[in-house]
Amino acid sequence: MGLKQRAFDWLDLRLGVRDILQQNLTHYLLPRNINVWYTLGATLLVLFSLQFITGIFLLVYYIPNTEQAFASVQRIMNDIPYGWLVRFLHATGSNVVILVLFLHMLSTLYMAAYKRPREITWIFGFLIFLVSLAMSLTGYLLPWSQLSYWATTVATESAGATPVIGEAMIHFLRGGPAVGEFTLGRFFALHVMGLPLIFALLAGGHLFCVRRIGVSRPPFGPDYLPEAPGTSFHHTDHSGGIPFFPNYVVKDLMVIAFFLTLLAAGAFFAPQLSLPPEAFEPADPFRTPPGIKPEWYFLAAYQLLRILPNEFLGLVVQGGAVAFLLFLPFIDRGPERRPGRRPLFLGLFIVGLAGFLILTVWGYLS
Protein backbone atom coordinates (compact mmCIF):
# COMPACT_ATOMS: atom_id res chain seq x y z
CA MET A 1 0.00 0.00 0.00
CA GLY A 2 2.88 2.33 0.85
CA LEU A 3 4.18 3.02 -2.64
CA LYS A 4 0.74 3.46 -4.15
CA GLN A 5 -0.24 5.82 -1.36
CA ARG A 6 2.93 7.83 -1.77
CA ALA A 7 2.55 8.12 -5.54
CA PHE A 8 -1.02 9.27 -5.04
CA ASP A 9 -0.02 11.82 -2.42
CA TRP A 10 2.72 13.08 -4.73
CA LEU A 11 0.24 13.65 -7.55
CA ASP A 12 -2.39 15.05 -5.20
CA LEU A 13 0.05 17.61 -3.85
CA ARG A 14 0.77 18.91 -7.34
CA LEU A 15 -2.53 18.53 -9.19
CA GLY A 16 -5.13 18.13 -6.48
CA VAL A 17 -6.09 14.74 -7.88
CA ARG A 18 -8.03 13.73 -4.80
CA ASP A 19 -10.31 16.67 -5.21
CA ILE A 20 -10.91 15.95 -8.91
CA LEU A 21 -11.72 12.33 -8.20
CA GLN A 22 -14.07 13.21 -5.38
CA GLN A 23 -15.90 15.81 -7.40
CA ASN A 24 -16.27 13.60 -10.44
CA LEU A 25 -16.67 10.18 -8.90
CA THR A 26 -17.69 9.67 -5.30
CA HIS A 27 -19.22 13.07 -4.61
CA TYR A 28 -20.74 13.32 -8.09
CA LEU A 29 -24.33 12.44 -7.29
CA LEU A 30 -26.91 11.19 -9.75
CA PRO A 31 -30.70 11.15 -9.37
CA ARG A 32 -32.02 8.20 -7.40
CA ASN A 33 -34.46 7.19 -10.14
CA ILE A 34 -31.75 7.20 -12.83
CA ASN A 35 -32.34 4.42 -15.36
CA VAL A 36 -30.40 2.22 -17.75
CA TRP A 37 -30.77 4.61 -20.70
CA TYR A 38 -28.33 7.00 -19.06
CA THR A 39 -25.52 4.50 -19.66
CA LEU A 40 -25.60 4.90 -23.44
CA GLY A 41 -23.37 7.96 -23.49
CA ALA A 42 -20.54 6.11 -21.76
CA THR A 43 -21.17 3.13 -24.03
CA LEU A 44 -20.82 5.33 -27.10
CA LEU A 45 -17.57 6.77 -25.77
CA VAL A 46 -16.13 3.25 -25.53
CA LEU A 47 -17.50 2.12 -28.90
CA PHE A 48 -16.22 5.22 -30.69
CA SER A 49 -12.80 4.73 -29.09
CA LEU A 50 -12.77 1.20 -30.47
CA GLN A 51 -13.60 2.55 -33.93
CA PHE A 52 -10.70 4.96 -33.64
CA ILE A 53 -8.31 2.20 -32.55
CA THR A 54 -9.33 -0.35 -35.19
CA GLY A 55 -9.42 2.44 -37.77
CA ILE A 56 -5.85 3.51 -37.02
CA PHE A 57 -4.73 -0.10 -37.25
CA LEU A 58 -6.44 -0.56 -40.63
CA LEU A 59 -4.75 2.63 -41.78
CA VAL A 60 -1.37 0.94 -41.29
CA TYR A 61 -1.97 -1.28 -44.33
CA TYR A 62 -4.73 0.46 -46.28
CA ILE A 63 -3.72 2.23 -49.51
CA PRO A 64 -6.06 5.07 -50.60
CA ASN A 65 -5.70 4.65 -54.33
CA THR A 66 -8.23 3.21 -56.76
CA GLU A 67 -5.63 0.88 -58.21
CA GLN A 68 -4.57 -0.59 -54.90
CA ALA A 69 -7.32 0.00 -52.35
CA PHE A 70 -9.19 -3.24 -52.94
CA ALA A 71 -5.99 -5.30 -53.02
CA SER A 72 -4.75 -3.67 -49.82
CA VAL A 73 -7.99 -4.60 -48.05
CA GLN A 74 -7.68 -8.13 -49.47
CA ARG A 75 -4.21 -8.25 -47.98
CA ILE A 76 -5.46 -7.08 -44.59
CA MET A 77 -8.10 -9.81 -44.73
CA ASN A 78 -5.79 -12.62 -45.87
CA ASP A 79 -2.11 -11.94 -45.24
CA ILE A 80 -1.89 -9.69 -42.20
CA PRO A 81 -2.26 -11.70 -38.97
CA TYR A 82 -5.68 -10.99 -37.43
CA GLY A 83 -6.37 -8.40 -40.13
CA TRP A 84 -9.74 -10.05 -40.67
CA LEU A 85 -10.55 -9.49 -37.00
CA VAL A 86 -9.58 -5.82 -37.05
CA ARG A 87 -11.63 -5.21 -40.19
CA PHE A 88 -14.66 -7.16 -38.98
CA LEU A 89 -14.52 -5.29 -35.66
CA HIS A 90 -14.40 -1.96 -37.51
CA ALA A 91 -17.24 -2.85 -39.89
CA THR A 92 -19.46 -4.43 -37.24
CA GLY A 93 -18.51 -1.71 -34.78
CA SER A 94 -19.82 1.00 -37.11
CA ASN A 95 -23.20 -0.69 -37.11
CA VAL A 96 -23.28 -1.10 -33.33
CA VAL A 97 -22.30 2.56 -32.92
CA ILE A 98 -25.18 3.71 -35.11
CA LEU A 99 -27.57 1.42 -33.25
CA VAL A 100 -26.54 2.84 -29.87
CA LEU A 101 -26.67 6.39 -31.24
CA PHE A 102 -30.28 5.76 -32.24
CA LEU A 103 -31.12 4.40 -28.77
CA HIS A 104 -29.37 7.29 -27.04
CA MET A 105 -31.26 9.79 -29.14
CA LEU A 106 -34.63 8.07 -28.77
CA SER A 107 -34.33 7.88 -24.98
CA THR A 108 -33.36 11.57 -24.83
CA LEU A 109 -36.41 12.39 -26.92
CA TYR A 110 -38.76 10.24 -24.87
CA MET A 111 -37.58 11.71 -21.56
CA ALA A 112 -37.49 15.24 -23.08
CA ALA A 113 -33.99 15.71 -21.74
CA TYR A 114 -33.26 18.10 -24.60
CA LYS A 115 -35.39 20.82 -22.99
CA ARG A 116 -34.13 23.94 -21.33
CA PRO A 117 -31.40 24.25 -20.09
CA ARG A 118 -29.97 21.39 -22.21
CA GLU A 119 -30.63 22.76 -25.71
CA ILE A 120 -26.93 23.11 -26.53
CA THR A 121 -26.19 19.59 -25.32
CA TRP A 122 -28.87 18.31 -27.69
CA ILE A 123 -27.54 20.26 -30.64
CA PHE A 124 -24.02 18.94 -30.07
CA GLY A 125 -25.45 15.43 -29.77
CA PHE A 126 -27.51 15.67 -32.91
CA LEU A 127 -24.54 17.02 -34.87
CA ILE A 128 -22.49 14.07 -33.58
CA PHE A 129 -25.20 11.81 -34.97
CA LEU A 130 -25.00 13.49 -38.39
CA VAL A 131 -21.20 13.36 -38.42
CA SER A 132 -21.38 9.66 -37.54
CA LEU A 133 -23.63 9.03 -40.53
CA ALA A 134 -21.17 10.93 -42.70
CA MET A 135 -18.30 8.85 -41.31
CA SER A 136 -20.23 5.68 -42.19
CA LEU A 137 -20.95 6.91 -45.70
CA THR A 138 -17.37 7.97 -46.42
CA GLY A 139 -15.91 4.81 -44.87
CA TYR A 140 -18.10 2.72 -47.12
CA LEU A 141 -16.23 3.83 -50.23
CA LEU A 142 -12.71 3.12 -49.02
CA PRO A 143 -12.46 -0.64 -49.74
CA TRP A 144 -13.26 0.19 -53.38
CA SER A 145 -15.52 -2.82 -53.80
CA GLN A 146 -18.60 -3.11 -56.00
CA LEU A 147 -20.63 -2.24 -52.91
CA SER A 148 -18.46 0.80 -52.18
CA TYR A 149 -18.59 2.07 -55.71
CA TRP A 150 -22.29 1.68 -56.39
CA ALA A 151 -23.55 2.64 -52.95
CA THR A 152 -21.54 5.85 -53.25
CA THR A 153 -22.75 6.43 -56.80
CA VAL A 154 -26.37 6.13 -55.69
CA ALA A 155 -25.88 8.20 -52.54
CA THR A 156 -24.15 11.08 -54.30
CA GLU A 157 -26.61 10.88 -57.18
CA SER A 158 -29.50 11.76 -54.86
CA ALA A 159 -28.01 15.22 -54.39
CA GLY A 160 -28.80 15.73 -58.07
CA ALA A 161 -32.48 16.13 -57.26
CA THR A 162 -31.76 19.60 -55.90
CA PRO A 163 -33.09 22.08 -58.45
CA VAL A 164 -30.66 24.22 -60.47
CA ILE A 165 -27.47 23.33 -58.60
CA GLY A 166 -28.10 19.56 -58.52
CA GLU A 167 -25.62 18.65 -61.21
CA ALA A 168 -22.98 20.94 -59.74
CA MET A 169 -23.48 19.37 -56.32
CA ILE A 170 -22.94 15.86 -57.62
CA HIS A 171 -19.83 17.07 -59.38
CA PHE A 172 -18.58 18.68 -56.18
CA LEU A 173 -19.29 15.67 -53.97
CA ARG A 174 -17.54 13.31 -56.37
CA GLY A 175 -14.75 15.62 -57.46
CA GLY A 176 -15.77 14.81 -61.02
CA PRO A 177 -18.68 13.61 -63.13
CA ALA A 178 -18.46 10.03 -61.88
CA VAL A 179 -17.19 8.30 -58.74
CA GLY A 180 -13.46 7.86 -59.26
CA GLU A 181 -10.03 8.48 -57.82
CA PHE A 182 -10.91 12.03 -56.76
CA THR A 183 -13.95 10.78 -54.89
CA LEU A 184 -11.82 8.21 -53.08
CA GLY A 185 -9.28 10.90 -52.19
CA ARG A 186 -11.79 13.28 -50.63
CA PHE A 187 -13.76 10.55 -48.89
CA PHE A 188 -10.55 9.13 -47.46
CA ALA A 189 -9.44 12.52 -46.16
CA LEU A 190 -12.85 13.10 -44.60
CA HIS A 191 -13.12 9.64 -43.10
CA VAL A 192 -9.74 9.45 -41.41
CA MET A 193 -9.02 13.10 -40.64
CA GLY A 194 -11.71 15.71 -41.29
CA LEU A 195 -14.75 14.07 -39.75
CA PRO A 196 -12.95 12.54 -36.75
CA LEU A 197 -11.59 15.99 -35.94
CA ILE A 198 -15.04 17.54 -36.10
CA PHE A 199 -16.35 14.59 -34.13
CA ALA A 200 -13.77 15.09 -31.38
CA LEU A 201 -14.68 18.78 -31.06
CA LEU A 202 -18.40 18.03 -30.96
CA ALA A 203 -17.95 15.19 -28.46
CA GLY A 204 -15.87 17.51 -26.28
CA GLY A 205 -18.59 20.14 -26.42
CA HIS A 206 -21.29 17.59 -25.66
CA LEU A 207 -19.44 16.21 -22.64
CA PHE A 208 -18.63 19.67 -21.35
CA CYS A 209 -22.32 20.60 -21.47
CA VAL A 210 -23.38 17.39 -19.75
CA ARG A 211 -20.94 17.92 -16.91
CA ARG A 212 -21.46 21.66 -16.62
CA ILE A 213 -25.25 21.60 -16.52
CA GLY A 214 -25.59 18.31 -14.68
CA VAL A 215 -27.52 15.18 -15.50
CA SER A 216 -31.24 15.62 -16.05
CA ARG A 217 -33.61 13.93 -13.70
CA PRO A 218 -35.71 11.17 -15.34
CA PRO A 219 -39.29 12.50 -15.59
CA PHE A 220 -40.81 9.50 -13.87
CA GLY A 221 -42.06 8.57 -10.42
CA PRO A 222 -44.64 10.09 -8.08
CA ASP A 223 -42.40 12.83 -6.70
CA TYR A 224 -41.16 14.16 -10.05
CA LEU A 225 -42.01 17.78 -10.76
CA PRO A 226 -40.79 19.77 -13.75
CA GLU A 227 -38.04 22.25 -12.93
CA ALA A 228 -39.12 25.85 -13.05
CA PRO A 229 -37.10 27.74 -15.65
CA GLY A 230 -34.29 29.58 -13.85
CA THR A 231 -33.14 33.10 -14.54
CA SER A 232 -29.44 32.46 -13.87
CA PHE A 233 -27.07 29.55 -14.48
CA HIS A 234 -27.75 26.65 -12.22
CA HIS A 235 -25.92 23.32 -12.05
CA THR A 236 -28.48 20.57 -11.56
CA ASP A 237 -27.24 18.67 -8.54
CA HIS A 238 -29.04 15.77 -7.00
CA SER A 239 -28.45 15.96 -3.27
CA GLY A 240 -29.38 12.70 -1.61
CA GLY A 241 -28.76 10.94 -4.92
CA ILE A 242 -26.53 7.97 -5.61
CA PRO A 243 -22.80 8.44 -6.21
CA PHE A 244 -21.53 8.02 -9.76
CA PHE A 245 -18.71 5.86 -8.43
CA PRO A 246 -19.11 3.06 -7.62
CA ASN A 247 -22.90 2.74 -7.84
CA TYR A 248 -23.59 3.94 -11.36
CA VAL A 249 -20.19 3.14 -12.91
CA VAL A 250 -21.02 -0.51 -12.38
CA LYS A 251 -24.17 -0.09 -14.44
CA ASP A 252 -22.24 1.81 -17.14
CA LEU A 253 -19.73 -1.03 -17.30
CA MET A 254 -22.48 -3.62 -17.46
CA VAL A 255 -24.10 -2.00 -20.51
CA ILE A 256 -20.68 -1.47 -22.10
CA ALA A 257 -19.89 -5.17 -21.60
CA PHE A 258 -23.27 -6.04 -23.09
CA PHE A 259 -22.61 -4.09 -26.29
CA LEU A 260 -19.07 -5.43 -26.50
CA THR A 261 -20.56 -8.93 -26.36
CA LEU A 262 -22.87 -7.97 -29.19
CA LEU A 263 -19.93 -6.55 -31.14
CA ALA A 264 -17.79 -9.65 -30.64
CA ALA A 265 -20.68 -11.92 -31.62
CA GLY A 266 -21.23 -9.89 -34.78
CA ALA A 267 -17.56 -9.69 -35.73
CA PHE A 268 -16.85 -13.38 -35.16
CA PHE A 269 -20.10 -15.03 -36.17
CA ALA A 270 -22.03 -12.70 -38.45
CA PRO A 271 -19.61 -10.41 -40.33
CA GLN A 272 -21.82 -10.97 -43.39
CA LEU A 273 -24.43 -8.72 -41.78
CA SER A 274 -22.06 -5.77 -42.13
CA LEU A 275 -20.44 -6.88 -45.38
CA PRO A 276 -22.82 -8.03 -48.13
CA PRO A 277 -21.50 -10.21 -51.01
CA GLU A 278 -20.71 -7.19 -53.22
CA ALA A 279 -18.24 -6.00 -50.56
CA PHE A 280 -15.87 -8.74 -51.70
CA GLU A 281 -15.93 -7.96 -55.42
CA PRO A 282 -13.62 -5.26 -56.76
CA ALA A 283 -15.30 -2.10 -58.04
CA ASP A 284 -16.30 -2.25 -61.70
CA PRO A 285 -17.61 1.08 -63.04
CA PHE A 286 -19.10 -0.72 -66.05
CA ARG A 287 -21.21 -3.22 -64.21
CA THR A 288 -23.99 -2.35 -61.81
CA PRO A 289 -24.70 -5.22 -59.43
CA PRO A 290 -28.42 -6.00 -59.25
CA GLY A 291 -30.43 -5.01 -56.18
CA ILE A 292 -27.80 -2.95 -54.37
CA LYS A 293 -29.15 -1.32 -51.21
CA PRO A 294 -27.86 1.19 -48.69
CA GLU A 295 -26.96 0.28 -45.12
CA TRP A 296 -29.87 -0.44 -42.80
CA TYR A 297 -29.80 3.01 -41.20
CA PHE A 298 -30.22 4.69 -44.58
CA LEU A 299 -32.98 2.33 -45.72
CA ALA A 300 -35.80 4.54 -44.42
CA ALA A 301 -34.43 7.59 -46.25
CA TYR A 302 -33.90 5.49 -49.36
CA GLN A 303 -37.43 4.09 -49.28
CA LEU A 304 -38.88 7.56 -48.72
CA LEU A 305 -37.11 8.78 -51.86
CA ARG A 306 -38.60 5.88 -53.76
CA ILE A 307 -42.23 6.27 -52.69
CA LEU A 308 -42.51 10.02 -53.09
CA PRO A 309 -43.51 11.09 -56.58
CA ASN A 310 -40.62 13.49 -56.89
CA GLU A 311 -37.06 13.13 -55.67
CA PHE A 312 -36.75 16.78 -54.76
CA LEU A 313 -39.80 16.45 -52.56
CA GLY A 314 -38.04 13.51 -50.88
CA LEU A 315 -34.98 15.62 -50.19
CA VAL A 316 -37.17 18.42 -48.81
CA VAL A 317 -38.98 16.02 -46.47
CA GLN A 318 -35.68 14.55 -45.27
CA GLY A 319 -34.08 17.94 -44.84
CA GLY A 320 -37.18 19.10 -42.99
CA ALA A 321 -37.06 16.13 -40.62
CA VAL A 322 -33.38 16.74 -39.87
CA ALA A 323 -33.92 20.46 -39.29
CA PHE A 324 -36.97 19.74 -37.10
CA LEU A 325 -34.97 17.38 -34.88
CA LEU A 326 -31.96 19.67 -34.74
CA PHE A 327 -34.02 22.65 -33.57
CA LEU A 328 -36.51 20.64 -31.53
CA PRO A 329 -35.53 22.24 -28.19
CA PHE A 330 -36.49 25.63 -29.61
CA ILE A 331 -39.78 24.38 -31.06
CA ASP A 332 -40.94 22.29 -28.11
CA ARG A 333 -40.41 24.74 -25.26
CA GLY A 334 -42.84 23.89 -22.46
CA PRO A 335 -41.27 22.84 -19.16
CA GLU A 336 -43.30 19.61 -18.89
CA ARG A 337 -41.16 16.49 -19.41
CA ARG A 338 -43.45 13.65 -18.28
CA PRO A 339 -44.39 11.64 -21.41
CA GLY A 340 -47.90 10.97 -20.06
CA ARG A 341 -48.63 14.69 -19.91
CA ARG A 342 -47.33 15.42 -23.40
CA PRO A 343 -49.87 13.62 -25.62
CA LEU A 344 -49.06 15.56 -28.78
CA PHE A 345 -45.34 14.89 -28.45
CA LEU A 346 -45.89 11.25 -27.48
CA GLY A 347 -48.14 10.75 -30.50
CA LEU A 348 -45.55 12.30 -32.80
CA PHE A 349 -42.80 10.21 -31.20
CA ILE A 350 -44.68 6.94 -31.72
CA VAL A 351 -45.83 7.81 -35.25
CA GLY A 352 -42.34 8.98 -36.22
CA LEU A 353 -40.63 5.91 -34.80
CA ALA A 354 -43.19 3.55 -36.35
CA GLY A 355 -42.87 5.35 -39.67
CA PHE A 356 -39.10 5.03 -39.57
CA LEU A 357 -39.31 1.32 -38.75
CA ILE A 358 -41.95 0.64 -41.42
CA LEU A 359 -39.97 2.49 -44.07
CA THR A 360 -36.83 0.59 -43.05
CA VAL A 361 -38.50 -2.83 -43.27
CA TRP A 362 -40.25 -1.82 -46.49
CA GLY A 363 -37.00 -0.63 -48.01
CA TYR A 364 -35.35 -3.89 -46.96
CA LEU A 365 -38.07 -6.08 -48.45
CA SER A 366 -38.75 -4.22 -51.69
Partner: protein, 143 residues
Amino acid sequence: MTSEPSLTSRRKMLATSVGVIGAALAALTVWPFWRFLNPQAGSAQAQTVTIDRSQIEVGAAHFFEFRGHAAVLVQPAPGQFAAFSAVCTHLGCIVTWRAQEQIFFCPCHAGRFSPDGRVVGGPPPRPLPSYPVTVTGDQIRIG
Protein backbone atom coordinates in the same frame (compact mmCIF):
# COMPACT_ATOMS: atom_id res chain seq x y z
CA MET B 1 -23.08 4.29 6.80
CA THR B 2 -21.86 0.69 6.52
CA SER B 3 -23.39 -2.16 4.56
CA GLU B 4 -24.10 -5.61 5.87
CA PRO B 5 -21.02 -7.85 5.95
CA SER B 6 -22.60 -10.45 3.62
CA LEU B 7 -23.30 -7.79 1.01
CA THR B 8 -19.77 -6.45 1.25
CA SER B 9 -18.11 -9.83 0.84
CA ARG B 10 -20.40 -10.71 -2.04
CA ARG B 11 -19.55 -7.42 -3.66
CA LYS B 12 -15.85 -7.99 -3.18
CA MET B 13 -16.07 -11.43 -4.76
CA LEU B 14 -18.01 -10.14 -7.76
CA ALA B 15 -15.70 -7.17 -8.28
CA THR B 16 -12.66 -9.45 -8.08
CA SER B 17 -14.06 -11.87 -10.67
CA VAL B 18 -14.96 -9.03 -13.02
CA GLY B 19 -11.48 -7.59 -12.57
CA VAL B 20 -9.76 -10.90 -13.26
CA ILE B 21 -11.83 -11.75 -16.35
CA GLY B 22 -11.60 -8.18 -17.60
CA ALA B 23 -7.82 -8.19 -17.24
CA ALA B 24 -7.62 -11.56 -19.01
CA LEU B 25 -9.79 -10.26 -21.87
CA ALA B 26 -7.70 -7.11 -22.17
CA ALA B 27 -4.49 -9.16 -22.27
CA LEU B 28 -5.99 -11.49 -24.89
CA THR B 29 -7.01 -8.49 -26.98
CA VAL B 30 -3.49 -7.13 -27.06
CA TRP B 31 -2.19 -10.28 -28.80
CA PRO B 32 -4.03 -9.97 -32.15
CA PHE B 33 -3.15 -6.29 -32.37
CA TRP B 34 0.50 -7.07 -31.65
CA ARG B 35 0.53 -9.76 -34.34
CA PHE B 36 -1.24 -7.37 -36.71
CA LEU B 37 1.72 -5.04 -36.49
CA ASN B 38 4.24 -7.89 -36.94
CA PRO B 39 3.02 -9.48 -40.15
CA GLN B 40 6.28 -11.25 -40.98
CA ALA B 41 7.10 -12.69 -37.59
CA GLY B 42 7.68 -16.42 -37.91
CA SER B 43 7.11 -16.57 -41.63
CA ALA B 44 10.53 -15.04 -42.29
CA GLN B 45 12.29 -17.93 -40.54
CA ALA B 46 10.81 -20.37 -43.02
CA GLN B 47 11.94 -18.39 -46.03
CA THR B 48 14.46 -19.94 -48.42
CA VAL B 49 16.18 -18.50 -51.47
CA THR B 50 17.21 -20.46 -54.54
CA ILE B 51 20.08 -19.24 -56.69
CA ASP B 52 21.10 -20.57 -60.07
CA ARG B 53 24.61 -22.08 -60.09
CA SER B 54 25.54 -20.06 -63.18
CA GLN B 55 25.28 -16.88 -61.13
CA ILE B 56 28.33 -17.64 -59.06
CA GLU B 57 31.82 -18.49 -60.30
CA VAL B 58 34.58 -20.18 -58.35
CA GLY B 59 36.26 -17.68 -56.06
CA ALA B 60 33.48 -15.15 -56.53
CA ALA B 61 30.64 -13.97 -54.30
CA HIS B 62 26.95 -13.36 -54.96
CA PHE B 63 24.97 -10.91 -52.84
CA PHE B 64 21.24 -11.34 -52.32
CA GLU B 65 18.42 -10.45 -49.96
CA PHE B 66 17.63 -13.08 -47.36
CA ARG B 67 15.08 -12.88 -44.54
CA GLY B 68 15.07 -9.13 -44.73
CA HIS B 69 18.83 -8.66 -44.66
CA ALA B 70 21.74 -8.64 -47.11
CA ALA B 71 23.37 -12.05 -47.48
CA VAL B 72 26.21 -13.44 -49.54
CA LEU B 73 26.98 -16.76 -51.21
CA VAL B 74 30.59 -17.76 -51.98
CA GLN B 75 32.21 -20.65 -53.83
CA PRO B 76 35.80 -20.87 -52.48
CA ALA B 77 36.50 -24.18 -54.26
CA PRO B 78 34.60 -25.80 -57.15
CA GLY B 79 31.35 -27.28 -55.86
CA GLN B 80 31.91 -25.93 -52.36
CA PHE B 81 29.37 -23.34 -51.31
CA ALA B 82 28.84 -21.31 -48.16
CA ALA B 83 26.28 -18.62 -47.35
CA PHE B 84 26.56 -15.90 -44.72
CA SER B 85 24.82 -12.85 -43.47
CA ALA B 86 26.53 -9.92 -45.24
CA VAL B 87 25.92 -7.69 -42.23
CA CYS B 88 29.15 -6.94 -40.38
CA THR B 89 28.90 -7.99 -36.73
CA HIS B 90 30.71 -4.81 -35.67
CA LEU B 91 28.28 -1.97 -36.48
CA GLY B 92 26.05 -3.39 -39.15
CA CYS B 93 27.64 -2.22 -42.42
CA ILE B 94 27.44 -4.51 -45.44
CA VAL B 95 30.67 -6.40 -46.09
CA THR B 96 32.24 -6.56 -49.56
CA TRP B 97 34.04 -9.51 -51.16
CA ARG B 98 37.72 -9.07 -52.08
CA ALA B 99 38.36 -11.71 -54.69
CA GLN B 100 42.16 -11.25 -54.83
CA GLU B 101 42.56 -11.70 -51.08
CA GLN B 102 39.60 -14.12 -50.76
CA ILE B 103 38.22 -12.31 -47.72
CA PHE B 104 35.10 -10.43 -46.68
CA PHE B 105 36.05 -6.84 -46.01
CA CYS B 106 33.96 -4.32 -44.15
CA PRO B 107 34.51 -0.84 -45.61
CA CYS B 108 33.39 0.93 -42.43
CA HIS B 109 36.15 -0.08 -40.00
CA ALA B 110 38.22 -2.54 -42.02
CA GLY B 111 36.84 -5.64 -40.40
CA ARG B 112 38.01 -8.83 -42.15
CA PHE B 113 36.38 -12.25 -42.32
CA SER B 114 37.67 -15.46 -43.88
CA PRO B 115 35.60 -17.27 -46.57
CA ASP B 116 34.18 -19.47 -43.79
CA GLY B 117 32.99 -16.41 -41.88
CA ARG B 118 35.61 -16.27 -39.10
CA VAL B 119 37.00 -12.92 -37.97
CA VAL B 120 40.57 -12.55 -39.24
CA GLY B 121 41.13 -8.89 -38.48
CA GLY B 122 39.65 -5.61 -37.38
CA PRO B 123 37.03 -4.83 -34.72
CA PRO B 124 34.19 -7.36 -35.42
CA PRO B 125 33.38 -9.23 -32.22
CA ARG B 126 31.75 -12.30 -33.76
CA PRO B 127 31.96 -14.36 -36.98
CA LEU B 128 29.39 -13.74 -39.71
CA PRO B 129 26.28 -15.90 -39.07
CA SER B 130 26.16 -18.69 -41.63
CA TYR B 131 23.15 -20.23 -43.37
CA PRO B 132 22.68 -23.84 -44.45
CA VAL B 133 23.24 -24.46 -48.16
CA THR B 134 21.92 -27.41 -50.17
CA VAL B 135 22.91 -28.04 -53.78
CA THR B 136 20.49 -29.88 -56.05
CA GLY B 137 21.65 -30.06 -59.66
CA ASP B 138 22.08 -26.49 -60.85
CA GLN B 139 20.09 -25.00 -58.01
CA ILE B 140 21.61 -23.77 -54.77
CA ARG B 141 19.11 -23.41 -51.95
CA ILE B 142 19.88 -21.26 -48.93
CA GLY B 143 17.91 -21.66 -45.71
